[in-house]
Symmetry: C2
Subunit: 79 residues, 2 copies
């Protein structure tokens, strides 16, 4: 089963990315995204090399390990 | 009018704290909370001195100035 702490973090992404990351809006879906790809994106947001409105702050709040666990979590969700 | 960047950050709090922080669940409402009080809480989450499930990561993502602007934003919202 998924780690409850990771699930708690992941739940806060739902506002924009949809439940379990299956976005129904213009905002990118993250459910089923390759975990390497997701981790790279999160790191770029964290380092500010990828433009964003809110993602810089969100990504900065997590350690690299925590970002890896989130990327892996969403890669296991059904788009 | 409110700074659009602050409003974008604040919108991501709605998942748990309700639209504009007017929570309808067990999770604390933050709309109309005194901004000094809100800032103190956010700093405690940021420094990890206040227990949390997701707030440590959220608060860590913002600079102190950004946390102050969020605390002020929510203090101006109607509970």
């Amino acid at each position: 089963a998924e780690d409850p702490q990771v699930r708690a973090w992941a739940a806060t992404c739902a506002t924009c990315h949809g439940t379990n990351g299956a976005s129904a809006t213009g905002i990118p879906a993250i459910a089923g995204l390759d975990s390497e790809r997701a981790y790279t994106l999160l790191k770029e947001f964290k380092e500010g090399t990828r433009p964003a409105t809110v993602m810089h702050q969100h990504a900065k709040g997590y350690t690299d390990e925590e970002l890896k666990s989130l990327a892996a979590y969403f890669s296991r969700q059904r788009p």
